[in-house]
């Protein structure tokens, strides 16, 4: 049974303890304004604030909608294992730049060490369009393990999507956010991939394969069985295949691993593929 996700409100004492005991991560945490893991162990997802530019809007409601959608998606994230689901950590006051320029190599490394899977945030900005003022709503997330292990790979660690609405009251923020996060291969797929990457690096090879297989089956569903999926899905499928193969290779070269991939080998099928439905 997967554990529930909580908002973490760290105590000051906990923060100080972390800085003392984990010197390697101290610079990163200092740079991550408002984000404090407070000594929370396990996988984490940062939820940064929503920025508002050029219009009167309540970013708080969009933040709450982001939390609602993100929490729900993480609850149904497969492969994390019982009680091992990521916890959401809110980062009040933090608003990463949409370009991803905030994520320096040292910050990414420190966040990855701290088991942060991704950082998610939003923005609302005014724009003139078709003679009337529009608001562009953006949701972006940065995939920390992917940036750490494959900074120059075919899959970009920064993923974002937007919708445009006429300026006015929020019409359907949850549906907008859901639609943005589900666009293309989708947030669920990327979340399974970064979970798989972390588990593989933690030498939890079996769980890593389960997470990557979940990603692969979602990619297959996203392509709808098309013989030639769209370029983004195709690139991501190839990436997941590579990671499955690397996970398999690492497992069988690890003398401590006695699991099914070593003992049953080829009987399980191709290392870089998971059985289809």
């Amino acid at each position: 049974m997967r554990g529930s996700f909580k908002i973490v409100r760290p105590l000051l004492a906990g923060s100080l303890l972390l800085l003392v005991t984990l010197p390697g991560s101290a610079p990163a945490l200092a740079a991550m304004k408002g984000c404090d893991t407070g000594g929370v162990s396990g996988f984490k997802v940062f939820l940064s604030d929503v920025s508002v530019t050029g219009l009167q809007a309540d970013p708080g409601k969009l933040s709450e909608a982001l939390y609602f959608v993100l929490d729900g998606k993480l609850q149904s994230l497969p492969g994390a294992g019982p009680g091992a689901g990521p916890q959401i950590i809110r980062c009040p006051g933090r608003q990463p730049n949409i370009s991803g320029q905030d994520y320096t190599a040292s910050l990414v490394k420190a966040l990855n060490t701290d088991d942060v899977l991704l950082d998610l945030w939003g923005s609302i900005a005014a724009r003139e369009g078709g003679g009337q003022q529009q608001e562009d709503v953006w949701v972006a997330y940065y995939l920390i393990p992917l940036a750490n292990y494959d900074p120059h790979g075919a899959v970009k660690p920064l993923q974002h999507a937007n919708v445009s609405n006429p300026v006015g009251p929020l019409l359907d923020p949850v549906a907008d956010i859901q639609a943005m996060l589900d666009r293309g291969p989708g947030f669920d797929t990327y979340a399974s991939i970064v979970l798989g990457l972390k588990l593989a690096k933690n030498r939890e090879y079996d769980n890593a394969r389960a997470a990557l297989c979940a990603a692969q089956s979602r990619l297959a569903a996203a392509s709808g069985g098309a013989a030639t999926p769209d370029p983004q899905t195709a690139a991501l499928s190839a990436y997941v295949g590579d990671k499955l193969q690397q996970n398999y290779d690492a497992a069988i070269h690890d003398s401590h691993y006695k699991g099914a991939m070593r003992q049953l080998g080829d009987l399980l099928g191709k290392p870089n593929e998971c059985p289809a439905g």
């Binding site: 709450e64 909608a65 149904s76 589900d182 394969r209 389960a210 297989c213």
Partner: protein
């Protein structure tokens, strides 16, 4: 068209009965029929219901705002929780032996009331073999919109949700076959409810909750007061088709008369907006059927299977429109697994049409789930290697087990079945295919045992 006289003894909540009734902050409905317990009540996380005689108890845990569990609920949010409880009660009355309670949450309690904590406490309370379903959820509200995301957890005390083929107990320990449903909780996709829709549904329920002088909508009647501070409790003293005759319980206020619990139109709008209520209904039917087995008579196993199938199908149809979400697809997959299990139990393993696998659709819905594949493997294993008139191919059974292991190499249930499968082939040489020599089989068996040992 007979009215069945019924004992007035009902709702046998034991030691905490008086306390729970005293806790009623809002209305509560408790109903019972003969020796069967059917009750609806409101309690809190510390004083759980003990519906003696209920096969399945449904607990509706108060929905809370996501990330703000201590925030006071709006009127719409409170109304929604009450509607879900009432709907659950009315839709489940057809199952007879049920209990329904609404569990309030104290946001300032030192230990938060979580579904997992409720499940643990019910494991301690329930008689062995009885079931519980816990529905909970998170809310988000903006202007005239209420969003909610539900999750559901279900279990039977001391009985895992597993399937075993016939003749399994004749096999030696360590060589048996068993597959389980994927582990709950089932998490559904977020839903949107407009507050005006919610108010209209609330009004529909209030109109339906009318106690009439005779079992007819033409008869005059008086409304049951829902909400407010007046507690109420009722006994069922008769039934005529979908009408039940109810009487206030032991001095509680309220009218006596007939109420219709079978009017689907009352539930239709709420279920269209919250298809997880169909899912809940189907799960209660599944649990009832598993508790009583294929010989269940009231209701019959056939009816329970039909109800369960119809409601799971309805859920899949509503949530599948427009492509659906990953969460609902997974939920639908688990529902297909429950239908498959009931079909195997009801129709018999030997009677399955050749080549048909009731779990194939489940695997298609959730291909990366090893437990789903393990259930499908069980049918293949039975067909090739356990049935008297075995007709399936053992190679295909091995392939489906290995595929299950491929998507989750550490799955202990799959490993155990793979070991049992190889042991079966060792003892029954005629089942082996040409490439599977003694040496090859011995190596594969040894490999599985090594993996199992490494896991210990």
């Amino acid at each position: 068209m007979s009215v069945r006289p019924v004992d007035a003894v009902i709702f046998r909540a034991k030691r905490w009965h008086a306390r729970a009734l005293a806790l009623f902050a809002v209305s509560s409905l408790s109903l019972a029929l003969a020796s069967q317990a059917q009750a609806g009540m409101i309690t809190d996380c510390s004083h759980l219901p003990d519906f003696e005689g209920a096969d399945v108890t449904t607990l509706v845990l108060q929905y809370q705002y996501a990330g703000r569990p201590d925030a006071p609920l709006s009127e719409a949010a409170r109304s929604l929780s009450l509607l879900i409880q009432l709907d659950s009660l009315l839709t489940q009355l057809k199952y007879r032996n049920i209990g329904v309670a609404f569990v309030q949450v104290d946001p300032y309690a030192p230990t938060p009331c979580s579904p997992e904590r409720l499940a643990q406490r019910m494991r301690e309370h329930l008689p062995s073999g009885r079931g519980v379903v816990i529905l909970s959820g998170r809310l988000f509200e903006v202007e005239d919109r209420l969003y909610l995301q539900s999750s559901m957890l279900f279990l039977r005390k001391d009985v895992p949700e597993t399937l075993t083929p016939p003749g399994n107990s004749d096999l030696s320990e360590g060589a048996r076959f068993v597959a389980r449903l994927p582990q709950t909780p089932v998490v559904f996709a977020p839903r949107l409810l407009l507050k005006e829709d919610l108010a209209a549904i609330d009004e529909q329920f209030r109109k339906a909750m009318v106690v009439r002088d005779s079992p007819s909508y033409d008869a005059s009647g008086r409304s049951l007061e829902l909400g407010g501070d007046t507690p109420f409790a009722y006994t069922v003293i008769g039934q005529q088709e979908s009408w039940m005759r109810i009487r206030p319980f032991q001095g509680y206020p309220g009218p006596e008369g007939w109420i219709n619990f079978g009017d689907e139109t009352v539930h239709a709008d709420l279920h269209r907006l919250l298809p997880e209520l169909d899912y809940l209904d189907a799960t209660v039917a599944y649990l009832q059927s598993r508790i009583h087995g294929p010989q269940s008579e009231a209701p019959s196993a056939g009816r329970l299977l039909a109800w369960s199938q119809a409601k799971f199908t309805q859920f899949a149809e509503i949530t599948g429109r427009g492509g659906g979400s990953n969460a609902d697809r997974t939920a639908a997959g688990i529902g297909l697994g429950m239908i498959g299990i009931l079909q195997m139990e009801r129709n018999g393993w030997a009677e399955q049409p050749a080549g048909a696998n009731p779990f194939a659709a489940m695997v298609a819905a959730m291909p990366s789930n090893a437990d789903a594949r393990n259930l499908a493997s069980l049918v293949d294993i039975y067909n090739c290697c356990l049935a008297e008139a075995a007709g399936g191919k053992p190679e295909a059974a091995e392939r489906s087990l290995l595929d299950a292991l491929s998507v989750d190499p550490a799955n202990g249930a799959v490993l155990a079945n793979l070991k049992s499968f190889y042991l079966r082939l060792q003892n029954r040489a005629e089942l082996r295919w040409p490439a599977l020599s003694d040496d090859v089989l011995a190596r594969r068996l040894k490999a599985v045992e090594t993996v199992q040992q490494a896991q210990q």
